[in-house]
Symmetry: C2
């Protein structure tokens, strides 16, 4: 049911960033606003130049910035509709998406087939479902604790609505870490080692959302990471591996939409985690995936029992979808590596690959463990994979492979160095008893990370270290003196970042 | 955990209506935007003049309409913060609301106590929960099919976080209709009859959201309805009854927030319906409530079985909270009364109260049934209530009481008459087989209802009527010729509004 069209308005850019939500700004006296009520999340279809997009309606009541005969688009809407200057557009109220009834069915407790999940995923990526509809869908899935067959159906649906890569190899490896630890930047090292061993490992990584650095942010200080699918394919075919930003290749667009809504809800659901991870891996063409699960009291996974439950379901869903999942437990009790922030973490990676004497040992050991386990996914005897990993790392082959991957991605770069830095020293002598990862992350962000890639902090101590009064606990890096002062001021009010007890 | 404050910006009005969502527009180079990531539904606390409000952040990247040193507020944010011109404000990121963990507990399947529900409701009305958090909460409640004791806890929490009225009478009556039929404007008549019988009936009603008229819209053409609590109390103490807009008295603010999110989700949940209805009635101080349930294939309640299930739970929760719920089943197979639109419906009400010969019989009979049932809630014998209702209506006492209530609410008015009208005639002879309430509602809205109170339509036929080619089926009323043309054009493309079969 649609209202008579009849009103064409010129489109302008509102210059407002609403994150990923497309918003259309219409005057209160426009036909759409007059003929229809205005409700929370009112949805309007904007059509121009043969393209159409569902936008959230915001009504301009006053302020003069929107002239008569004009409608404005938020940045997200502008990017997706790509109107030319002075293009005319028509507007009509969007009816409820067809799959909304499937979401209600899920809320009412029905099991859905992969066809039904696919309808929801298609509407989700087309923007036909509002954030509150997606939130209701996610809450219902969590509330009903989907069993493995339904997780399989959901994962399959997420894969189907996106692109799937195929490779000329029967074995395609990958790894995924559940709940990252600060600074735990093993991925570039693992990819270099595995690719240096002649295996395929087409890795996509994420940028930071709430953390001071994601793998893609750190990697971006070493090489371009915003490759499209064709470029990613060329890199992997030439070098066996890559480390690119998942957002630019868009391998699981449904997952991107779900994660956007799920993150602020902070749900802890194995089903969503499994569907998210496996949909991306299957789309990347992987056949064997290592699941790294750091276990610790403040890590995402808090007990071995929880790790076993997750691992069992992940394996079962993987098997149903033709992908082998290997499980790896690791220590999640404290940060790994001594740096937080894109460029600082990248330097740790280079130090390990370059076998430098000051390279963080914990990062090296963890990367070797993981690379070994990845290599053993395809049937090698236990220990054999790790031995090969040590060999290619110590021989410099991994370093060469990493440089080759960087070149293939568009050219290797030197990570930037921050213009300002300041140490934080121990106020008293004692032993480092606790380290608060959240506070450390906040300090790094106030210093400017990840927007300023050089910003962040270096940790000089680990749990259990003995420190003397006046010894540096960390060094804060920032591009401006204002941000440095910000970060240090925050640190002074949150000394729990590194707790030293007498 | 908060970031260092330190940035004060001048507040201006953005002139953007985002419905009830408070939005703050900050420049991309502001401290809050720089020190924090930007996420879907990022929440910022705006503080000015001792008041603070959680707003959704929209980032102004361009466009020049927001100067340096300035932040803009959406209409909803402006109304709630009430800054004076050139007031300065500070900004910081809002941490997750404490009750968000209770929402997650609900999603994970835990039962919540009324204390926990109260925490969620308090955060909801304070704006500390985002719409997606509220959507997740609602979905979880529906998914878990709350049992009566938990519905009781939720209802109690909703009452506790708002104001509750008390009256100097042990019996306070009310009525609620589940799922309105178009034109079914019985409430003003029922209130007049019940109050004329000397009973208390403090009625609050809603405005239209998606329909062409709510009871408050129709009543607003006859008297002021935007009374505050003190004024409502004065009217009821003087005349025994009132018909005011619920939005202005704000008796169940938690319900107002939940309904805003729930409506676009279109959940069909007895638990939410019961909590919504009873929280408002208890807050209004009612002791006896009649629940009118129209049953029909296209009504909200489709079977007697469904009506019985709802009625049983409503009664149980009512009893637990000390309020008696009476149940009333009515015919939900077709519209009631012959008018759609605020002023046209008001005229039908006046015709019934004034015993005019052309008054719609179905509206009169239904109002008498309901008023009788309301009067019988307090122990009168079956039939006695209806007999008294007929008596006060036919004697003119109900009409006098209605006029007195209108005067007490601020003065009786004459409903406006639309400047333009046009008949829609039968294209062929035959019998009226179906009437599509949704299409009729859309025609009335395109004609301008409810924004133009005089707009709407009069129906000249009912199901089963025999019509001849060229006979008028309905008359469309509009304030402008453009809107009249809009409505008629829509009608021509949707002749299913009134389906005449040979």
């Amino acid at each position: 049911m649609s209202v008579p069209a009849g009103e064409s308005l010129r489109l302008i850019r509102a210059g407002v960033d609403t994150y990923q939500e497309p918003v259309v700004y219409l005057r209160a006296d426009s036909a759409v606003c007059r003929s229809e009520g205005f409700e929370a999340q009112a949805r309007v279809i904007v059509e121009t130049g043969g393209r159409s997009l569902v936008c959230t309606l915001n009504v301009v009541t006053d302020g003069g910035w929107l002239g008569s005969g004009v409608a404005a688009l938020s940045e997200a809407a502008w990017r997706r509709l790509r109107p030319r200057t002075d293009d005319l557009a028509t507007f009509r109220h969007a009816e409820a998406a067809e799959s909304a009834s499937r979401i209600r069915a899920k809320v009412y407790g029905q099991s859905l087939t992969h066809i039904e999940y696919e309808a929801i995923m298609r509407d989700a990526i087309a923007g036909r479902l509002s954030d509150i509809e997606l939130a209701a869908f996610l809450a219902a899935c969590v509330a009903q604790q989907l069993e493995d067959p339904e997780v399989t159906a959901l994962t399959q649906a997420m894969v189907h609505v996106g692109t799937t890569l195929t490779w000329h190899s029967s074995v395609v490896l990958d790894k995924h870490c559940v709940g990252g630890l600060p600074g735990n930047r093993t991925t570039p090292i693992v990819v270099a080692i595995v690719a240096a061993c002649g295996q395929l490992i087409p890795k996509t990584s994420s940028r930071a959302i709430t953390s001071p650095a994601g793998t893609a942010d750190a990697m971006a200080t070493l090489a371009p990471v915003e490759l499209d699918l064709a470029a990613m394919r060329r890199v992997v075919e030439r070098e066996g591996g890559c480390i690119v930003w998942g957002g630019s290749v868009g391998l699981s667009p449904a997952d991107d939409v779900l994660i956007r809504v799920e993150r602020p809800l902070d749900f802890d659901s194995n089903a969503q985690l499994i569907a998210s991870v496996l949909s991306k891996k299957i789309a990347a063409g992987s056949t064997h995936v290592l699941l790294d699960m750091p276990v610790g009291p403040t890590a995402k996974i808090r007990s071995f029992e929880a790790a076993r439950t997750l691992g069992k379901s992940m394996s079962a869903v993987g098997t149903a979808l033709g992908i082998k999942v290997g499980l790896h437990l690791s220590d999640g009790t404290q940060p790994v590596g001594g740096a937080i922030g894109p460029a600082l973490e990248a330097r740790s990676v280079l130090a390990v690959l370059g076998r430098e004497t000051h390279a963080p040992r914990d990062l090296r050991e963890r990367a070797l463990d993981l690379a070994g386990a990845v290599l053993e996914l395809d049937g090698a005897r236990p220990g054999e994979g790790r031995a090969r990993a040590v060999q290619v790392l110590d021989s410099g082959l991994a370093e060469q492979k990493f440089e080759a991957i960087c070149e293939a991605q568009g050219g290797m770069r030197t990570p930037p160095v921050a213009r300002h830095r300041a140490p934080v020293v121990a106020a008293a002598s004692g032993t480092v008893r606790t380290i608060d990862n959240r506070v450390l992350g906040r300090i790094a962000k106030l210093a400017g990370a990840p927007a300023d890639p050089a910003a962040g902090l270096e940790l000089h101590v680990r749990l259990g270290d003995r420190v003397e009064r006046g010894m540096p606990l960390m060094t804060v890096h920032a591009e401006t003196s204002g941000e440095l002062a910000y970060a240090l001021s925050y640190q002074r009010h949150h000394t729990s970042a590194i707790d030293v007890e007498p």
